[in-house]
């Protein structure tokens, strides 16, 4: 039996969750993804935006498994605000492991418990009854989860130390690029301005080649396409469908999923973004989709 991994979108919005009738086709919850490694006895998530809360409610008092692993890209609100509302965190029978980067400014551990600040949340820290473990992860490192899932990291061009994750299980694979801005003259990541100081063009080439190498041969790439080429504000830390496709072409991936939809985008605007790259993707042999809350994709075959 070959191994099967699936990816489910629990939240596809960037910046903040939003609710309006005309955008519920794609969904209004902020970033949260779930990997399902068929037959394994653990849960694996990427980020804890508002989409995580609803999943926690579904899992209820008796989740399928007691081990929960979280790949943390970074600590902006849209990626973390669901953690205190994830039910399994209040049950001492559960183990939650967070893989996250630290910045020079703060540790993930501190920021996580910062959500429990008493003026902002009436739940004291001691009520988080689950066992919590924090694994510090740097860019360009490899590790495995439960000895089964191979994970690699890469630092993206976004504020702080924002990580991209490559997740491999058997022949199934995906890269998740939640937040990434064009690099040309725009160095947002911690340490990047210093690395670019000597020779900016060389740094930009190195960054782009590094990202292409990271994506190389992966089955599915989920990529930030918050903006269009017309609305792009590079210093806000986000990308466009065209830029996402350009990386995927160079890396020879099978499928591109547009992700991190702007909260202002109604269903129609997301449809338009998809159409804006559909022809070019098709001619490059890349299947292109726009992430839709609740949909689940196979990551192989």
């Amino acid at each position: 039996m070959s191994k099967i991994m699936k990816l489910k979108f629990l939240g596809v919005r960037g910046s903040r969750p939003t609710h309006k009738r005309s955008l519920l086709g794609y969904g209004g919850n902020s970033t949260c993804l779930e990997f399902h490694c068929v037959g394994e006895k653990f849960h694996l998530f990427l980020d804890g935006g508002s989409g995580l809360a609803r999943r926690g409610h579904e899992l209820g008092e008796s989740p399928t498994h007691r081990n929960f692993h979280f790949l943390v890209t970074h600590t902006h609100w849209d990626h973390i605000l669901g953690y205190p509302f994830f039910k399994p965190i209040y049950d001492k029978r559960n183990l939650l492991v967070f893989y996250a980067s630290n910045t020079t400014r703060s540790t993930f551990n501190d920021l996580f418990f910062g959500l429990q600040r008493s003026a902002n949340l009436p739940v004291p820290r001691h009520q988080l009854k689950a066992r919590l473990a924090f694994e510090k992860v740097a860019p360009d490192t490899e590790f495995t989860i439960e000895g089964k899932v191979k994970v690699k990291t890469f630092q993206l061009n976004h504020q702080g130390v924002t990580l991209a994750y490559k997740v491999q299980y058997g022949d199934c694979s995906a890269c998740i690029i939640t937040d990434n801005a064009p690099i040309q003259g725009n160095y947002l990541g911690e340490g990047m301005p210093a690395r670019a100081a000597q020779d900016p063009l060389a740094f930009e080439r190195e960054f782009e080649a590094g990202l292409v190498a990271f994506l190389k041969g992966v089955h599915t790439v989920v990529f930030d396409s918050h903006f269009t080429e017309e609305t792009l504000k590079a210093d806000w830390g986000h990308s466009t469908p065209q830029r996402a496709l350009a990386f995927c072409r160079l890396a020879g991936v099978r499928r591109l999923v547009l992700f991190h939809h702007a909260p202002e985008d109604m269903d129609e605007q997301v449809d338009n973004k998809l159409q804006s790259v559909f022809h070019d993707a098709c001619h490059s042999g890349i299947e292109v989709e726009a992430a839709r809350e609740g949909e689940e994709w196979d990551l192989c075959g």
Partner: protein, 296 residues
């Protein structure tokens, strides 16, 4: 003559719940707009406020009109503040934002500034945003262009910080009516609730926390929210023309809220009341109470 109206931009408590099954009652965290003359007056800035902010952008772009936004905070739990960094007018130097609470301004700043902290967001501080931000500590009733505003402490979960409470607000306009908002309050048989009821008496529109159904409430005693039944019990004593229940539980969908509303309407107890579960983006007129119903 004018009018006094309210509009909910967010009706959902705790965390956003955007899904097709919540499309009728809404899925954004709390924000209520008080529509009085041309003023922009909000209670709380949950994610609902961002939809209003997006609408205001059209006004900003078309008329280059400076905005003055007044926000009254009931308290600083995430769901009641989290929309502030995403409220677009805050990115414009032509905007003035007056933020009010009975808390000392240093506490308000601490409690809001975490939203603008460089680790959680790409900002540095609330005070370094483009808009002019004024923090105002309330120290008793005051008047805004003929609108009288008053507040009163409610029964909600306390923070570690002594004296940090949650507040109900009352907005009263001469000849137009009175609105009372009691959005995070647990109705219990105690002095605080009795005092609150006395204070709210005579209002025309009552907005009241009704997060739970009676059976759910039993599992959440002490969490700082009321059942719809307990909210209506308060409404019977307060006697408004219309009661709107809000702070819907994120787990509840439209069908469940509609069924609950029908069940409550069918009972004898609340027959004297006109009440609804609040819906987002619906305008509610404040209708004057003709005469107070007899206590029963």
């Amino acid at each position: 003559m004018g009018s006094l109206r309210v509009k909910f931009w967010g009706t959902r408590g705790l965390i956003s719940s955007p899904r097709p099954e919540t499309a009728i009652f809404g899925g954004n965290t709390p924000c209520v707009q008080i529509l009085y003359k041309d003023h922009l007056i909000l209670v709380d800035s949950g994610f609902g406020s961002t939809n209003l902010g997006d609408d205001l952008m059209a006004r900003l772009a078309a008329r280059q009109e400076p905005l003055h936004v007044h926000i009254f905070y009931t308290h600083f739990h995430w769901d009641h503040i989290q929309g502030l960094p995403f409220f677009k007018p805050i990115y414009f130097p032509s905007t003035t934002m007056s933020l009010y609470s009975p808390q000392p301004t240093a506490r308000m700043l601490d409690n809001l500034n975490i939203l603008f902290d460089g680790s959680y967001s790409p900002f540095e501080s609330l005070l370094s945003m483009q808009a002019k931000v004024h923090l105002c500590q309330l120290s008793g009733p005051f008047e805004l262009d003929g609108l009288r505003i008053d507040y009163r402490a409610v029964d909600h979960v306390a923070s570690d910080h002594p004296g940090e409470e949650t507040y109900a607000y009352k907005f009263a306009a001469e000849n137009l009516g009175t609105v009372c908002l009691i959005t995070d309050h647990e109705v219990r048989n105690n002095k605080k609730n009795r005092a609150l009821v006395e204070w709210a008496k005579g209002c025309d529109l009552l907005i009241h926390d009704g997060q739970y159904f009676a059976a759910d409430y039993l599992a959440h005693v002490g969490w700082g929210h009321s059942s719809a039944q307990a909210a209506l019990d308060n409404a019977l004593k307060i006697g408004p023309a219309l009661t709107l229940l809000t702070h819907h539980d994120p787990a509840r969908n439209d069908r469940e809220l509609q069924a609950q509303h029908r069940a409550l309407m069918q009972g004898k107890k609340y027959r004297r009341l006109t009440f609804e579960f609040a819906r987002e983006e619906v305008l509610y007129e404040v209708a004057k109470v003709k005469s107070l119903p007899k206590a029963g």
